[in-house]
């Protein structure tokens, strides 16, 4: 399978020397321009006030549905629950066959085989979290074994978490090497790197993590696991979007973005799409380059689609509650 020019090759020639040593990497990451938090949040809030109506809204809703990584990451997940989620991913709204499919179903590695079986031939991807999700606290060997198990079970995409402890302690090269190792283990599968922005404490750290992930070969950079208090917000997603925009300008390599956790309403989703369009550009308005990690969001999008189609407000009786 031909690979897009990201990833496995490591950082492009123009940035090859920044990962040569821990010191060089630290100098590079700390040399990135600082984030102005007040300006950032004001910008994110201002873009959230755009009014998206009628045909533009219909387009945005369909696009958002097609960008969803329909997720179930609970201790109580069963094969039955994953199969019903897969059925929903294939046909989100059985009353309206024009509804697009979602992009992927995201599960724990032990259920990836169940999902792969249920999604076979549908075009919906199987994404599996790996590397000791959600804490990322395990030996590298364990993380690699976790990744290989997910791939063997049929995962098309791997969602890995970084070691936040190492990152916050300043051991950037260690985090880099770990992502590289998982990148190699993942082979041709698309690799999403989760930073858990809610634990990184500053926007500067989120920007550094973004560049670190992209240098190490991430196909997607992803905000959160959905398991901590603060998940995807417009502001932290804006930092990621600026990073992928700047990275492509610097290297020519395009990287995707995935906000995850806490995006529950169609209105929120449309705000994120505005952020994407106004920050990274419309090259990213495609489910190859932008995803929503969500579960309840899909139902709200479907209810909004029904409202647009029929003119009457819909309710939870008219979508499947999972």
């Amino acid at each position: 399978m031909p690979r897009i020019p990201t990833a496995a090759a490591g950082p492009p020639a123009s940035l090859a020397d920044v990962t040569a040593s821990d010191g060089a990497l630290r100098r590079f990451l700390h040399g990135l321009p600082g984030v102005d938090p007040v300006g950032l949040e004001a910008r994110a809030a201002a873009l959230g006030t755009r009014s998206i109506k009628t045909t533009a809204k219909a387009y945005a809703l369909d696009l958002a549905v097609s960008m969803i990584d329909l997720t179930t990451l609970e201790g109580a997940d069963t094969p039955g629950k994953v199969r019903s989620l897969c059925a929903k991913a294939r046909t989100p709204d059985p009353t309206d066959r024009t509804t697009p499919q979602v992009a992927a179903v995201c599960v724990y590695p032990d259920l990836a085989a169940t999902a792969a079986g249920a999604l076979a031939g549908s075009g919906v991807q199987v994404a599996s979290v790996a590397t000791a999700f959600p804490s990322g606290r395990a030996a590298l060997e364990v993380k690699l074994a976790d990744t290989r198990a997910a791939l063997a079970a049929g995962a098309d995409e791997i969602d890995m978490v970084i070691d936040r402890g190492a990152f916050l302690a300043g051991r950037y090269l260690e985090v880099y090497e770990q992502i590289r190792a998982v990148r190699e283990a993942a082979g041709t599968a698309r690799l999403k790197v989760i930073f858990e922005t809610g634990e990184l404490s500053t926007y500067d750290n989120i920007r550094r993590a973004s560049w670190l992930g992209m240098l190490a070969g991430a196909d997607f950079i992803k905000t959160s696991t959905g398991k901590v208090g603060v998940n995807a917000t417009p502001a932290n997603t804006l930092v990621l979007l600026e990073a992928v925009r700047d990275y492509r300008a610097a290297t020519g390599v395009q990287v995707g973005v995935k906000p995850a956790g806490g995006i529950r309403t169609a209105k929120d989703a449309v705000k994120f799409l505005v952020l994407v369009n106004e920050t990274a550009g419309d090259d990213w308005l495609d489910n190859r380059w932008f995803r929503f990690g969500a579960s309840s969001l899909l139902n709200d999008l479907l209810m909004q689609r029904q409202k647009l189609r029929t003119g009457r407000y819909s309710g939870p009786d008219y979508v499947t509650v999972d």
């Binding site: 029904q306 003119g311 009457r312 407000y313 819909s314 309710g315 939870p316 009786d317 008219y318």
Partner: protein, 309 residues
Amino acid sequence: MSQADARLSVLKTYKLYVGGKFPRSESGRVYEVTAAKSAGGAAGRGRWLANAPRASRKDARDAVAAARKAVAGWSGATAYNRGQVLYRVAEMLQGRREQYTAEVADAEGLSKAKSAAQVDAAIDRWVWYAGWTDKVAQVAGAGNPVAGPYFNLSAPEPTGVVAVVAPQESALLGLVSVLAPVIATGNAAVVVAAEERPLPALSLAEVLATSDVPGGVVNVLSGRTAEIAPTLAAHQDVNAIDLTGADAELARELEVAAADNLKRVLRPSADPGGTDWTADPGTGRLTAFLETKTVWHPTGSLGVAGSAY
């Protein structure tokens, strides 16, 4: 003029009541509410009373979402507990009797004595319905005799979210007479207040907010009935609609819209003189928004020795 007379009184900003909160209309609109033509008072008839919020279809949507959230808790509460909460509402009403007397007098153009009688009747009506919460199951439910070894029990259950178009003429007694039976049985209500006389309804919300009624169980919208009610009638997540305050033409339009998701519909009174709200209400409105659940349960008396029947 003395110094005390020069004081400007503080005007009240009337607001909607949605999900236990008092928001302005999402649209930012208000409309003028004036005293009834026959009302007395210092500045005479037809004087300006207040600006009431003019709710939009999005306010209606938010109110339905709030009501839906409240259904599980309110219908799951014990009937006894619902009764206690409703008695508490009556107690709060009693404490603000003077305020309601003045508001009803302005809204309906009544003398102070007649207005006070309306308020007293409204409080008594509320107490009456509060008493019904744990008795309606005995009246509307049954143990059915069946030809088989089963207990067969029918029990009334609340319909869910009920939209209520409140009576246009009777601003408090009429409102209480249609609202109390809806929530007494465990439904959640979205009330469209009387268009020209919304102030007693908006003030009633203040009583509900301070008397242990969970937020979202009652939501009060004021504005143009013909603008808000069609949204509620067409809303897929509203289970029933009470058309009491709709005129014949609007009621027909609403009933057509309500048919699309098989809403339960309570038609307005066919009596051209309107409803006499002071009359004994009977149990009709209590049972209008109930569904009957019937359970078949084996008696357990079928053994090797044969049926006990």
